[in-house]
């Protein structure tokens, strides 16, 4: 299991380097961030044992932290990304 995740992570790294050399127009950034998110999720779920966490509170803390991070980035971008004058 650990080795499968390990090889998936290495594959993801190779893939993200390869994808960066392609001209995907505006999709370069979403593809790179998507691969990074898949890799981070694999590390959290399997290497950090969130998947098998016996304590539900742990899962709640993880989801809560991500929620507030997305709140920070998302709400900031509703301002900065929607300024047609700048």
């Amino acid at each position: 299991m650990y080795f499968a995740v390990f090889f998936a992570l290495l594959l993801g790294t190779g893939l993200t380097v390869f994808a960066a050399t392609l001209d995907l127009g505006r999709f370069n950034a979403p593809v790179a961030l998507g691969i990074a998110t898949v890799k981070a999720t694999l590390v959290a779920l399997f290497f950090m044992h969130v998947w098998h966490a016996s304590e539900k509170l742990t899962k709640m803390v993880v989801v809560g932290a991500l929620f507030f991070l997305l709140l920070l980035l998302g709400l900031t971008m509703t301002d900065y990304a929607t300024r047609p004058w700048s």
């Binding site: 380097v17 050399t21 950090m48 900031t76």
Partner: protein, 236 residues
């Protein structure tokens, strides 16, 4: 008469020396430690989150300058370091597994290899920083970023002061990450001495697990830093 049964309880009951008295059992103690670590990691997520937010704002504003600056960083170093950290995450889970299954030799070997990989990461980072100093790409008085073409816009050159913002973010984000690596190496040195003394058993190995969580978190931060800083616009 004093309640001697209550007072004598701790002496009568057999329990693991590492089990603190306010926990019902070893599992509850481990879950509490792990939860505490995750709460700490949540604060770390917000800590790095602020930098990622700043990065996001400036990247949108000065995308061309950021792409030009990103292209001058050595992608090979970044990719190698990503692979090094992924390997170290594997040795960390092996260490946790070895501690849980009482494999002392594997535990010590995994911890040592993890630390060597951590040092490799910092070494490569050092070479990379040195190149930035040589090229005068370090923000400050001697910063210079002249005639660097903006990818995809022939004849246009990056604004040096905007590129300087990219390099400021690059040094703060990778520098903070490297500081976390150094702290991680300190934690792992301590784990190694504990493992050497044979303190970890299948009943008690929480420090290995908690230290592992920290190491994996630092790995995750790098997983995002690599594409964001090194791979903004790499196509020819």
């Amino acid at each position: 008469m004093p309640d001697s049964t209550v007072l004598g309880l701790h002496h009568e009951e057999e329990h693991h020396p590492e089990l603190l008295h306010h926990f019902a059992d070893a599992e509850q103690q481990r879950d509490a430690s792990s939860l505490g670590m995750w709460v700490f990691l949540a604060t770390e997520i917000m800590f790095f989150g602020g930098l990622f937010c700043a990065y996001l704002i400036y990247r949108r504003w000065y995308f061309g300058d950021f792409a030009a600056a990103s292209k001058t960083i050595n992608m090979g170093y970044g990719a190698t370091n990503t692979a090094v950290l992924i390997c170290s995450s594997l040795t960390v889970v092996l260490a946790v597994w070895a501690a849980q299954t009482a494999r002392r030799t594997l535990l010590i070997a995994s911890l040592v290899v993890t630390m060597l990989l951590g040092l490799t990461f910092l070494g490569i980072k050092g070479i990379e920083y040195r190149e930035k100093f040589v090229e005068h790409h370090v923000p400050g008085a001697s910063f210079s970023f002249q005639n660097e073409p903006i990818p995809g816009h022939p004849g246009q050159y990056a604004n040096p002061s905007h590129a300087q913002i990219f390099f400021s973010l690059y040094f703060v984000m990778t520098g903070l990450h490297a500081l976390h690596m150094i702290i991680g190496l300190g934690i792992f040195t301590w784990l190694l001495t504990m493992a050497w003394k044979g303190r970890f058993t299948p009943e008690y190995n929480t420090p290995v697990e908690i230290g592992g969580l920290y190491w994996h978190f630092v790995d995750i931060v790098w997983i995002y830093l690599f594409p964001l800083l090194y791979l903004i616009d790499r196509h020819p």
